[in-house]
């Protein structure tokens, strides 16, 4: 077996050294009653070529091929990924390294993470960002728990119903065994979260909004910050499409205290939903409550700049059950990938690309309205929006699928009052031709 170097002779030599006569001798501390007494039920070993055939078969089972245009977002976004990124990120020094416990031989990972933290802080408008969480959904759950830790006596948090339903589901999971209460905030007609009745008497440790929210609607973050702070709560801003911050104001600059969300858009493929990247940042004063790993700058014995994992007192190895979180492995290589993507785009590029996403989505939005669809919400949106169709959209969707376009996510499964409502996503990968085809098919 090509991954197992030992020859029979090697094994005999080692048996002799150890003083056993067979493998059984190595496992004598495992009681008979614990033993696996049959063969594990697995298919016989495949050669590399058989494995290739197997994966080709898997591929042939997919009705949606890589050639399809996908006008569905809802948490995962198809963006162009430059070929430089997989070329570099597959370098074995990066991909086959472990967590940088020995900083002197991991300065690549560490400087890369430090740069990621910095670019992320700039993107989100926060003072400090950590070195990643699992994904946007678990990041929101951790943000709310952090809000509880900071809020001390308060036992309640509020989350907008316009936050991605899966994010809210994960929050529910994390909160289930705790004593804390989650209150959902309604969505107003225009697609923004209704904060009108918020008050300090609610006793919310934190209030979480998503912007752009699940419907693609850009929340009025500045007003929200005022309202939430007036209610003596922390403002947690979530997101699933960070590219928006190339065009719209960053959550931090609008007053959010904790900002968290999903970074998949930043150079990471959709990959059936993972691996993605939980991005997480906050104001300086909350840094000791921040979950997840942090890289800090320091000096070596000769005064030279270098980077290390730091503030590990917040982590499990030292404080164990008093840790800010149990997160340990995070999304390492995805973090570096996102940083490389942000560096490749640059400040000039991200503004241009975000505007292009916005323009293209507006084009489809206008076209669908012309074709007879009704906008569900009239607040401004970024690269996603929801429309209601008068007649059944499913046959149109099917016909488009056959033309190589997967368009629209049915919202009826997610919200009670949204039958025949569909969420569309348009990124820079969708050509005008594709958008025109959708419009034409709807018009029919």
């Amino acid at each position: 077996m090509r991954y197992l170097p030992h020859t029979d002779e090697d094994i005999r030599t080692m048996f002799d050294t150890i003083g056993v006569s067979d493998f059984e001798g190595l496992f004598r501390t495992v009681p008979e009653s614990c033993r696996y007494d049959k063969e594990m039920k697995l298919p016989p070993p495949k050669t590399e070529w058989d494995l290739n055939s197997y994966m080709a078969e898997i591929k042939s089972m997919m009705k949606i091929t890589p050639e399809h245009a996908v006008l569905v977002g809802a948490g995962r976004y198809q963006h162009h990924i430059p070929s430089t990124i997989p070329a570099i990120m597959s370098r074995s020094e990066l991909i086959t390294a472990y967590t940088p416990y020995q900083p002197e031989m991991a300065q690549g990972t560490l400087q890369g993470l430090y740069e990621y933290q910095t670019l992320t802080a700039r993107l989100l408008g926060v003072d400090v960002a950590n070195a990643s969480m699992y994904d946007g959904a678990s990041a929101l759950a951790e943000a709310l728990l952090m809000g509880i830790r900071i809020g001390r006596k308060k036992k309640r948090v509020a989350v907008s119903k316009a936050i991605h339903p899966h994010y809210r589901a994960v929050v529910d999971t994390y909160f289930a065994p705790t004593e804390y209460e989650i209150v959902e905030l309604a969505v107003a007609e225009d697609g923004r979260t209704d904060l009108s009745s918020l008050s300090a008497e609610d006793g919310f440790a934190a209030v979480a909004l998503q912007s752009p929210n699940f419907f693609g609607v850009i929340e009025d973050m500045e007003k929200s910050a005022e309202a939430i702070h007036a209610a003596d709560s922390l403002f947690i801003a979530a997101f699933s499409e960070p590219l928006a911050f190339g065009l719209v104001k960053s959550p931090g600059s609008c007053g959010a205290d904790i900002v968290c969300g999903e970074g998949q858009s930043l150079g990471i493929p959709v990959s059936f939903g993972g691996p993605g990247l939980g991005m997480f940042g906050c104001r300086d004063k909350f840094v000791r409550n921040l979950p997840g790993r942090l890289v800090g700058e320091t000096r070596d014995l000769e005064g030279k700049r270098g980077y290390v994992l730091t503030l590990s007192t917040r982590e499990q190895h030292i404080r164990r059950e008093k840790a800010t979180s149990n997160i340990c492995s995070n999304q390492g290589i995805c973090t570096l990938t996102a940083a490389m993507y942000m560096a490749s785009l640059g400040g000039t590029g991200i503004r241009k690309l975000a505007k292009l996403n916005f323009d293209k989505a507006e084009y489809l939005k206008a076209g669908l309205q012309q074709a007879g669809a009704t906008l569900c919400h009239d607040a401004p949106t970024f690269n996603e929006f929801a429309v209601r169709f008068d007649s059944d959209f499913k046959p149109v969707q099917k016909s488009l699928m056959e033309q190589g376009i997967a368009a629209g996510l049915n919202l009826s499964g997610f919200y009670d009052d949204m039958d025949n409502c569909y969420l569309f996503c348009v990124t820079e990968t969708a050509s005008k031709d594709v958008l025109d085809t959708v419009i034409k098919e709807v018009k029919k």
Binding site: S92, Y134, G274, D300
Partner: protein, 474 residues
């Protein structure tokens, strides 16, 4: 070669990737929503490529050499698995489309669930948790949901001092107060102690087996019985599964819930800290509690099953770190049962070989038959004022990644060596010789160790300063 930080490079107006020209009219966003955009440096493609190429050259990976980081199972990461995970059929699959469009990607999850069940001996699996600690959390949520379903909230949990570090934090997230159990003189759990501590306030026990001393918890069945008798559950931390594939049946051990680390036992790359993947495996009785959705197969179609009233719910926005699942499935299909068992046998063989060869040179904490790793310490070097840290740093200069150090906490100055099965006898012998030389140097020239490492971009880094005056953002 030096390489500045990203924002110390670049000139406004450069760009490092293609941005398509617009083929649609300009649209207008309300001015009060518009921002300035982030202050990112503008770089050319060659700037970016060189930056990260240089960064990579300051790193050490499994392809560079032996990486005997105990408890981390740094085995070789096969290239073919990377290729399949990166294939367009996988990377372009969108998770929000109807099941009928995703039969291939769902099948991968379904088969992996089954194979992990077969390997552990347990009955049902969810691959949603995104890392080991996430899997532990899923396990603890299952504990909580189980007890709740039986109408009893429990508030404590037993955790041995040889457990993995994240166990107490995971339990605490679910409202359990960890009760520490000291391991016995043989480095493993003492049945009587468990009997004494286990009561009906206790949700159960979290056992790492083999434990972090590399020793098999020989009494696990009796312990499980005690826990079960008091209505508790047994959690198995499967991070060390590499030591027992095909040898140990977790169900027969009495384990009810177990997480695996695909980025350890199943050869997926660690990526400098992730993405990992921490599937959670349970006995039949607990299957209903697993995270949602689950992938099921009705004989014709793979489906995502979401209506599962007992489930702890969703742990991840989608299906966890899917790309990692693809790699692990490829590994299992390549290895098959016979080679997975061999992997375990060779991993243990390699650790035992190192243990025997080094035990006269480094102090061996527990001189007992070890499994996949051996825990030494710096006890013999104390007289020269040489510490575990010094030995570790000196190893770097010889081209090795140091072992895990100062863990487990039960061994003072621990040096925890896990070679894994993919290291050949020649590599082991070379490593052993290097350690012996360092041990000799500790006696003859301790300064050499104190000043190590010398061969890297930076000399020994000041971690204390980093924590005292945090500089986390440039």
């Amino acid at each position: 070669m030096e390489e500045p930080l990203l924002w110390e490079k670049g000139r406004p107006g450069r760009n490092g990737m293609s941005i398509p020209d617009s083929d649609v009219p300009d649209a207008q966003l309300a001015a009060d929503l518009c921002g300035e955009g982030p202050d990112f440096p503008d770089l050319s493609e060659v700037d970016v490529v060189r930056h990260y190429t240089r960064l990579s050259q300051w790193n050490f990976g499994v392809d560079t050499g032996m990486y005997p980081l105990g408890s981390c199972t740094m085995k070789y990461n096969p290239k073919i698995n990377e290729k399949h995970a990166a294939s367009e059929g996988i990377t372009s699959a969108h998770p929000m489309l109807d099941d009928e469009y995703c039969q291939g990607t769902l099948r991968i999850i379904y088969e992996l669930q089954n194979y992990l069940a077969a390997i552990t001996g347990l009955d049902a699996v969810s691959v949603q948790p995104a890392a080991g600690a996430h899997g532990e959390l899923a396990g603890m949520l299952i504990f909580a949901a189980y007890h709740k379903s039986r109408g009893k909230k429990r508030n404590k949990i037993l955790i041995p001092d040889t457990a993995h570090g994240t166990n107490p934090a995971s339990a605490a997230l679910c409202g359990y107060k960890p009760v520490s159990i000291k391991s016995g003189p043989r480095g493993i759990l003492d049945v009587d102690q468990v009997r004494e501590l286990m009561d009906e306030e206790c949700a159960g026990i979290m056992i790492t087996n083999p434990n972090t001393l590399g020793l098999f918890e020989e009494n696990i069945r009796e312990i499980a019985q005690i826990v079960h008798e008091k209505g508790g559950l047994v959690y198995g931390d499967g991070a060390n599964m590499n030591a027992v594939m095909g040898i140990v049946d977790m169900k027969k051990c009495g384990v009810d819930v177990l997480h695996l680390n695909l980025h350890k036992t199943f050869s997926t790359p660690h990526g400098g800290g992730g993405p990992g993947s921490g599937p959670v495996c349970v006995v039949e009785e607990l299957a209903g509690f697993l995270p949602s959705p689950r992938v099921v197969f009705d004989g014709e179609q793979y489906r995502l099953e979401d209506e599962r009233p007992e489930s702890i719910g969703r742990m991840h926005c989608f299906h966890g770190n899917y790309g990692v699942l693809v790699r692990a499935l490829c590994y299992i299909l390549t290895m098959g049962a016979e080679n997975l068992k061999k992997a375990t046998q060779y991993a243990v063989l390699n650790a035992c070989y190192i243990k025997v060869k080094l035990k006269n040179h480094l102090h061996l904490a527990y001189d007992r038959p070890c499994m996949h790793e051996a825990v030494f310490s710096d006890k013999k070097q104390q007289e020269y004022k040489v510490t575990t840290l010094d030995i570790a740093k000196r190893l770097m200069d010889s081209g090795y990644h140091p072992p895990t150090i100062y863990f487990p906490l039960v061994v003072h100055g621990a040096i925890m060596i896990e070679p894994t099965e993919t290291e050949s006898l020649e590599e082991l012998d070379t490593f052993i010789e290097v350690v012996k030389e360092i041990v000799a140097e500790a006696k003859s020239d301790a300064e050499l160790l104190k000043n190590a490492p010398q061969r890297f971009k930076v000399k020994r880094l000041d971690e204390t300063q980093a924590a005292r005056q945090p500089c986390l953002c440039g």
